[in-house]
Each structure stands twice: as C-alpha cells, then as structure tokens.
Amino acid sequence: MPEAFIYDAVRTPRGKGKSSGSLYVQRPIDLAATALASLRDRTGLDTSLVDDVVLGCVTQAKEQGACIARFAALQAGYDLDAPGSTVNRFCGSGLEAVNSAASMVGSGFFDCAIGGGVESMSRVPMGSDGGAIFDVSQQWSFGSVPQGISADLIATMRGYSRADVDAFALESQRRAGRAIEAGVHQGSLVPVLDESGLPILAVDELPRPDSTLEGLGKLQPAFEMMGRQFKLDTLVRKQYPHVHRVEHVHTAGNSSGIVDGAAAVLLGNAELGQRLGITPRARVRSMAVVGEEPLIMLTGPMPATRKALQRAGMSVGDIDLFEVNEAFASVVLAFMEELDVPHDKVNLWGGAIAYGHPLGATGAMLLNTALDALEQKGLGTACITLCIGGGMGIATIIERV
C-alpha cells in the first residue's frame, strides 16, 4: 500500500467572526484561495497534478454554498484539471477533508490531494444552512440540545466546576500568548491580503493572553438562560434521567471563539515528493471517525482516539502530543481524564478557546499546529482529535518522517 505523506500545511490567521472582525471584508472563497495559493507557492506544486481539493466547510450556504472547494481552487489559480469537493462533518470537517485526501492517496487511487477547510463565521453565521438537526422530531427522538448545554452536561456529570473550566481556559490563553510571542506559528501562517496586496490580517486576532481568572470568572454562563428559562435542560433527562440539574459552567471565556479562517494541507505519495523535489514532513499513520450518543454529543474524541490508536497498533503512551479541539473546556478535561493524558502533552500552544474555532477549517489547522509542534519540539507522533455535532468524533495520528 502506498503511504500518505504530508508535504506541507498552511493556514490563514483566525479573525474575529463578527462584522467588526478583520476578515469580515473577505469572502470565504478569498480565505480558502489564500491558503490554497500559498500552499502551491511554498511547495512549487504543479497544480495539474492535484487529483482533488477537499475542503471542509460546515455552513454550506450563501457564500459558502455550491461546492466552494472547486471555486476556491479556481480562484487560487489552480490548474483547471484540479477538481474540488466540499465535505461537512460539522466541527470535524477540516480533519475529515485531510483524512479523505490521505485516504485517497493511501489507497493508491490518487497521487496527490489537498485537504483543508474554510469557514467565515462572520459572513455565514452558524445555522444559516438550516438542517434536519433543528427539526422538532429530532429533539423528540434523541433529545438533541445546543452544544453548550452538552458541554455543561459533561462538566456536570464529571464534576468539573466553573473554577476548573476557567482555569483550563486561562491556561489555553497563556499557552497561546507564549506561543505567539515565541513566533511558533510564523512558519505556517499566511497573511490575508486584499486585492491590492494591502494587509488585512497577519496574526490571529482573538487570543487574549492577558486574561485573568478574575476576568474569566465574571463572565455570565452562556447557556444558562436557554437551559433554565427555556427548559432545554429538561431535554437532557431523556438520556440522562439522573441529571436533575445541569450546572452551567461554560461561558464565552472557556468555550471556543467564533472566528473566520482557512487552512490547506498537501498530501501525496512518495513519488509526488520526488517529482516536486520536496521532502515530506510527516505521514498519516491512522485515522478514525466514530458515532456515539448524540445528546451529550461532545465525547467523541475519546472513542475516536482509541480507535485510531488501535488501528495504528499504538497506545496512548506512544503519542508525543495531542491536539484536542477546545470546543469547550470540559471536552478537553474529559479527554485528559478518561485517557489519562497529562495536560503538558495536550494543546501545547493553547487551543480554540484562545484562537477560535473556524468550524470547517479547524481540523486542518490543528493538524498543522500539531505538525509544527512536533518539529519544533523534536518529537515524533501526534494525535489530532475533535468532537463533532450529532455525537461524533474524529481522530488522526501523524508521524514525522
């Protein structure tokens, strides 16, 4: 079987995902094209060799509708031969796209594929695409609740206090602050420019390295009102009858931020590197996606990681670094607790609580970050995992070569 090598990875900075955010003036296609063009230019990629451009994008409506991957590739100036497809596995989409590209290369069907993702949450707000997930019938059948309530449910069931989740958030901000100051992302960040080449955003816009526990503690729980006043908490009892009260601990400060951004990862077989005269940075060891109980929704990283480890014939101890998406603090706390992974192996440079979570792009960004961290720390293996709406999880294990 051929191997799927990761030759390079890039990402745009993440801009605040609201109309005052820097990247609001760029269409999603511009963000995706920025990442794709940069990936090509850095690697000298002959884009006629690209068998597919797979981009994750969650809210595929309005400016993100109608297979944005194909049009982003065209806008980036890719060869007309390079096709594009857009995938949606909710928050796992970016990693799903990388896995899909890696699978096609690894299976020998493709020689070269790009995985990545894009999401402009400022221009195409979450939910703009509608969907069956919001149907009342789904609520009655599965008791699905908004993610924040799921996150609060995890905290409630595992006994994480507001102080616990705030402390985790503070650490994420601190790690991000130190990492940014040390310039660890510089090699992967591609600045977003306007049509004249004037800078729009060159660094991540969301991190607040000066956050304090006191400041975080003052924030209102984000999901308390919908949980208590609008009775959404009661829906939880459909699956968890013993939970008589959900503790609402998650706030805007300890949940992932809403941002805009795009990422792209070049995957190919060994021959691609020879042809382009570039050396691979890593290989994809294994991957997994799982489904589980959809109301609690966010516990997928654990079974997904286990499955990926099992397929790679590895154990938790064989992994040097984990990137676990900080959708909510409780998600990562639960992961570390359940798999018994120390925090110093997880999210070395902080996570989505500090940088934000551009839904469809995050998975590819985390893979990029994990790869950068492995290289900069001189380590070998990393596992990237994300929780996913609808009760799913995704994980990918990579290894430097």
Partner: protein
C-alpha cells in the same frame, strides 16, 4: 443668520430662530471638490456644530455653480501607492459616516450638479432637494474614468433606490438631469427657486428631527423588492453580469468590479461594506487602465475642450452658416448649428434631400424634451432650405459636405466663395482629401480649413480640425470658438491625405478584412476586436460605411501614394461588391446578413471566398494584429507630422472612432506595451504579415532613446 465658521470648504452659519445651520461650500477655484481641504473643512464644521446648543439640523449648500464636482482627479491621478489611496478613501468614508450619523438631519440643497464624489456626499445626507432645472445633473459616472464610486456610492445607492436601478445607473455611468432624478429616487424633492429650496430644506428638518439613514434601521430592507442573497438577487446579478460583458467584452475592469462590489457589499453590514468598496476602489484607482483612462478622458479631453496650446481668436464673427449638401451629415450639421443659435442655410441641388434634412432637423428637436414647443419652433426657424446659391449671400462660415471628389469640390468652392461675407471661412467636411489641395480653388486659402465631423454628428463628440498649409491662426481660432458653441471636442491636426482619424480608421477596418481574406474566421476577427476594447468590430464598421465607399477611398488613396490594391483584403472587397452584390448594411447585405435592417450573423458565403484558416490563428492573434496595425499606422502619422499633440491622438481615436477607451488611446496602449518591446513585435509582424506592420522611424527612435509619450 450668524456666521459660525469660515474655512477651506466654505461658510457655516446658524439661524437661531429655526435652529437650522447652513454649510455653504465655496472652495477656492470656483468648484467644490472632495480633497484634503474639503475634508478638513467639513470635519471642522461638524465639530463646531456638535458644540452648538439648539441645533435642529444642517443644510449643505453650494455657493458655486455646481453643488460638488466630486473627487479631485488631480490628486487621485498622482496617487500610485495603494496604501495612500486606501487611506484617502477611508478618511472620506469616515467623514461621510460622521455626517450621516451626526445625530441631526442633514439636507443636501442641490442648486447645481452633483456628480461622482459630489453625489456621494449628497447620498450621505438624509434628504436631497434639487432645483427643477435640466442643467443640474446627478449621478455616479466613475466607471467612465476606469474606477468605481469610492466614497460609499456603491453601497448607499442600492440601499436607497434598490439593487437593480443602482447597478444600471452606476454601470452605465449615467448622469441624470434633476427633473428626472426624482422619479428615479436620486433626489427626494424638486423646487423651482433657490429660495424655495432653502425653505423646503428647513421645513424638512423641522418635520424630521430624528432623521437617520434607512440602513441604520434594524428592520431595513432593500427597496425594490430584491434582497441580497436571494434567488431573485442571484438571477439579477447573473443577468446584469452577462449584459455588462456583452457591452464590454471583458475589456473594461471597472463595470465588472462595480457589480462585484455591489453584490458583495449589499450582503455585508453597511459600515464594513464601505471598506470592501474602498479596497476595490483602491485596486482600480492604482491600475494602469484607470490611469490611462483618466489621462485621456479627463486631462486630455479637458485640455482639448479648453483649446489648450491652440491659437485663439478675439472674436468668432460667425452668425450665418451655410451647409452645402443636405445628406445625413449636412442635415445633422444644420441641426447642431441651429441648436447653438446660428442662422443656417442648407443648400442642395435637389429638393428631396432638402425635405429629408428638414425632417431630420425637426425630429432631432422633438427628442429634446427640455425645450418648450415655442423654443423648438424658434430653433427650427433658424434653418432655411434652398436650391438657390443666392441665399448663401452674407454667410460667415460655409461647411461643404458634397461628394468626395476634388473637381466637384473645386467647382463648388469657386462658385460659392464670391457670395460670402467679408472674412468668411470656407470649411470642408472631407474625410480624406488634403485641405491644401482643396484650398487651391480658394481665393482666400488663409480662411480655408478642414472641419471633419463624425457620423451621426448630433451624437459624436469629436471635431477633427485640419489646418491647410495656408490656414491662418485667426481662422483656426474662430473655428475653435465655433466648435465650443456647437459643443464639440476639437483636435487640431496638420494636413495630409486622410489626416489622422481616417488613416487610423482605415488601417483598422482594412486589416479586419485582410484577416478574413487570409482565412481567419470572421467571427474571431469581430470578437477579437471587441475583446481588445474596440467598440465595434471592423467588419461591422465596414458594412456600416458601405464597402463601395471603402473601395473608392482606397482608389482615391492611390493618388496620394497609398498602394493597397494588391492586398488580398482589397481583392476580397472587390469580389464582394462586384460579384456578390454585397455592398453593406444599407444594401441589406455585406459581411453580415441583414433582415429588415437588423444585423444577423456573418454571411455564410464568406468562407467560400476565403482560404482555409492559416496555421497561426485564434482570438489572441487576431486581437493582437488589430491593435498592432493601428499602432503601426499611428507611428507613420507621427512621422508625417500630421499629429502635433499626443493628446489629439488619444482624444481623437476614442471620441471619434470608438478606439478601445480602456486603453486611453493608441499612444497610451503603445506605452503600456513598452515601446522597445512593441517595436520588436512590429518588426516580427512586418516579416510575417507585411510591411504595413513595420514600426515607423519615430517609434524606432523613441524606443532607442527610451522615450515615452506621456510622463506623469
């Protein structure tokens, strides 16, 4: 009224009894334009008003003829760094935002024209009242100079009048006269006098103390029904985009960017949509296309209209004009002269053309809606139609538009000249015959001149003035005054067969036929020309002027040393005319088929008359050749000393011939290619396709010395 402030923008006064302040713009130089002085002045006025107790609202007025003429093109033209342009438009946007979110109602009192940035200023006000006067125009004509509105126009206008009408107005760069502007929603009210205007403005302020822009409201919906990001909007943009492409063939950047910015900006928050517009504006404003268009269509056209560098006459001394020949051109000339107030006699040798001419003069007047019936009758009454020479007596200016034949013209000159008033000017509207040759029949060659008009003369803005060897400065100066009164933009060239425009025109159209004769697909030839930016493809032009006329001109040219008869293209013309009776559009058959006068496809028989396509063909080659041949010809015109000013080459080609406006003209086009590279390319072209492509000595010399036509 107490005066609060006087600064670089104008005067700010306050009427305590009504609580209404008035900012009367009165910038130096007689025009209000959006520049640094404007910005500082407006900002200071707003800051002053913010401190004022009892303020109910603000009226923005002008002490000059125009309300505000818009962006300072001098400033914009010089800016080449995108960061500078972006910073400039961002500042203007911030200032206009300050005005519209100022908290008090602001009314624009349009006592004069507001175009471009001037109308954008009015759009940033909460209410617009104009004088009901057809001389006042409003609109956003920025695309005409290769840019888009850059002070919020692309965002405020769709939000004010709806997406579709806004796109139409801006993409066409249309100017709308005040009386029509209300119906289009561009102004909110019309009044008859300046006094009524100020009263109406104050009354509106009092009645609307909490005025704010509709787009500030949470419940804002676009007028006209089409909301952004709906299937209606999708259909609208798809059609608008295609219709624009149908017009521009992709040769102009600004209309395309305009549509894109409207589409995108209307999806965005209003505040940030301004940034989107500013970024798109910046890209365009620093582009070569915008600079070239501004140079020609702003600077050079203005210079031509002001007759810069040209001889001046103390007085025009023209009251009575005689037009010889009542054809389409003669009738059109009579029409524009009468409209300009001259007394006109139009003479022909047959009654039928005279009758047709009278109908044309009257039809033209009917279309002038801003004139009353009496005014129309008065203008019509200025023209008399005659078969008699006698009526020409006392004429100050004769323009002959008789057949293009040296002998006939000589005869007419000799016949008419003795009847004229003392000091009269004799002008020929010939499109090719050398003026000095015609002047040989004149007793006063110093008062003999070429006035070459373009058809239809009522619409075409250019006048090519040809100086004969003996034509005096005084005669030229008087003709320039005449040009101004008849609202024509003049270029002044030296004598020589076919002068300037006819030579360029012939090179272009004949090469189109030549390409077909070589076997290139005629459809590619036509579309290739369009994608180069030429307004009309060469074969369509040929059909319109008629193939016989083209052939005749070519035969005439041989007397002046132009030997084109051997070209396969000329042979093809002969075959079409002599063997297939395809004479052109008027005949119902030419390169194209026609059905009831409407152009259909290229005649299918054409390919049977031409060889199979050459190995080297395609849209890129035909497009390139159609431009190169014109460059080569202009190079020769420069050699011959016919062109005296580079500006004339540019203005003449675009205004007279429909040369690609996005290029700024043939010289600008050449300069964009790089003269050295162009000379090299022309040499190669000459080797492949014939000597007519050879770079002229002037071009070679300039290329060798690294010279350029225009230094900015």
């Amino acid at each position: 009224m107490a005066e609060l402030l006087k600064n670089s923008l104008g005067t700010l006064s306050f009427d305590e009894s009504s609580g209404v302040a008035t900012l009367t713009m009165a910038m130096e130089g007689g025009v209000n334009k959006v520049n640094d002085a404007f910005g500082l002045g407006l900002n200071e006025a707003l800051d002053t008003l913010a401190q004022l107790d009892g303020l109910k609202g603000l009226v923005l007025a002008s002490a000059h003829r125009d309300f505000c003429v818009g962006a300072d093109i001098d400033m914009l033209y010089k800016l080449t760094d995108p960061a500078d342009v972006f910073s400039m438009v961002s500042q203007i946007n911030a200032l206009f935002r300050k005005l519209e979110t100022f908290g008090k109602p602001v009314v624009a009192a349009l006592t004069g024209t507001a175009l471009g940035g001037g109308f954008e200023l009015a759009l940033a006000c909460h209410h617009r009242i104009a004088l009901n006067d057809a001389r006042i125009q409003v609109g956003l004509p920025e695309v005409m100079l290769g840019v888009i509105p850059g002070a919020g126009g692309t965002q405020r206008l769709p939000r004010l009048i709806g997406i579709q009408p806004a796109v139409e107005l801006m993409a066409q760069g249309a100017r709308v006269r005040a009386p029509k502007a209300k119906g289009k929603g561009l102004v909110d009210a019309l009044v008859d006098t300046p006094e009524q205007l100020l009263d109406a403005a104050r009354a509106w302020i009092v009645a609307n103390p909490r005025a704010k822009q509709p787009w500030e409201s949470r419940s804002f919906a676009f007028p006209g029904g089409v909301q952004p990001q709906t299937t209606d909007a999708m259909n609208l943009y798809t059609a608008a985009s295609a219709m624009l492409y149908d017009k521009t063939a992709g040769a102009l950047c600004a209309p395309e960017v305009l549509l894109q910015v409207v589409q995108e900006g209307c999806r965005m928050s209003f505040e940030r949509s301004l940034e989107r517009e500013a970024r798109a504006f910046t890209k365009l404003a620093t582009s070569g296309q915008a600079k070239d268009m501004m140079r020609t269509l702003w600077y050079h056209k203005n210079a031509a209209d002001k007759h810069e560098g040209l001889p001046r006459a103390e007085a025009e001394n023209i009251e009575k004009i005689a037009i010889l020949g009542a054809g389409m051109m003669g009738a059109g000339l009579a029409s524009i002269c009468a409209q300009a107030g001259y007394s006109v006699v139009i003479k022909d040798i047959a009654q039928a053309p005279l009758d047709a001419a009278e109908k044309r003069v009257r039809d033209n007047l009917k279309a002038m809606r801003h004139l009353s019936a009496d005014e129309r009758e008065e203008v019509a009454g200025r023209v008399s139609y005659t078969l008699e020479l006698e009526l020409l007596r006392g004429t100050d200016l004769v323009i002959e538009a008789v057949v293009e034949n040296l002998e006939v013209k000589h005869k007419v000159i000799a016949e008419v000249e003795p009847l004229l008033a003392g000091g009269a000017i004799f002008a020929s509207n010939t499109s090719a015959l050398p003026i000095s040759d015609l002047a040989k029949a004149s007793a006063h060659p110093e008062r003999f001149i070429g006035l070459h008009y373009f058809s239809p003369v009522e619409k075409m803005p250019l006048l090519e003035i040809i100086r004969g060897e003996a034509t005096s400065d005084e005669t030229l100066g008087r003709c320039l005054r005449f040009a101004k009164r008849t609202k024509k933009t003049p270029i002044v060239v030296n004598d020589g067969y076919a002068f300037y425009t006819t030579r360029l025109f012939s090179a272009y159209t004949l090469e189109g036929v030549q390409l077909v004769a070589e076997g290139h697909d005629p459809r590619l030839v036509e579309w290739g020309a369009r994608t180069a930016g030429m307004i009309v493809g060469p074969l369509q032009v040929f059909d319109e002027v008629t193939l016989t006329l083209g052939l005749k001109a070519m035969e005439g040219a041989s007397a002046y040393g132009y030997h084109l008869a051997d070209l396969p293209g000329v042979a093809l013309l002969r075959t079409l005319v002599n063997e297939h009776d395809r004479l052109g559009k008027a005949h119902g058959a030419g390169f194209y088929d026609y059905e009831k006068g409407r152009r259909k496809g290229i005649w299918s028989g054409l390919t049977e008359l031409t060889p199979p396509p050459p190995a080297e063909t395609g849209i890129d080659i035909v497009r390139r050749r159609l431009m190169l041949i014109q460059a080569a010809e202009v190079g020769r015109v420069l050699d011959d000393g016919v062109l005296q000013r580079h500006r004339d080459a540019e203005v003449g080609a675009i205004l007279g011939l429909g040369f690609a406006p996005g290029t700024g003209g043939p010289l600008s086009w050449m300069q964009r290619q790089g003269l050295a590279a162009l000379v090299h390319e022309l040499e190669e072209a000459a080797a492949k396709w014939g000597d007519r492509y050879a770079p002229s000595p002037t071009l070679r010399d300039m290329a060798d010395k690294g010279e350029v036509f225009f230094r900015d």
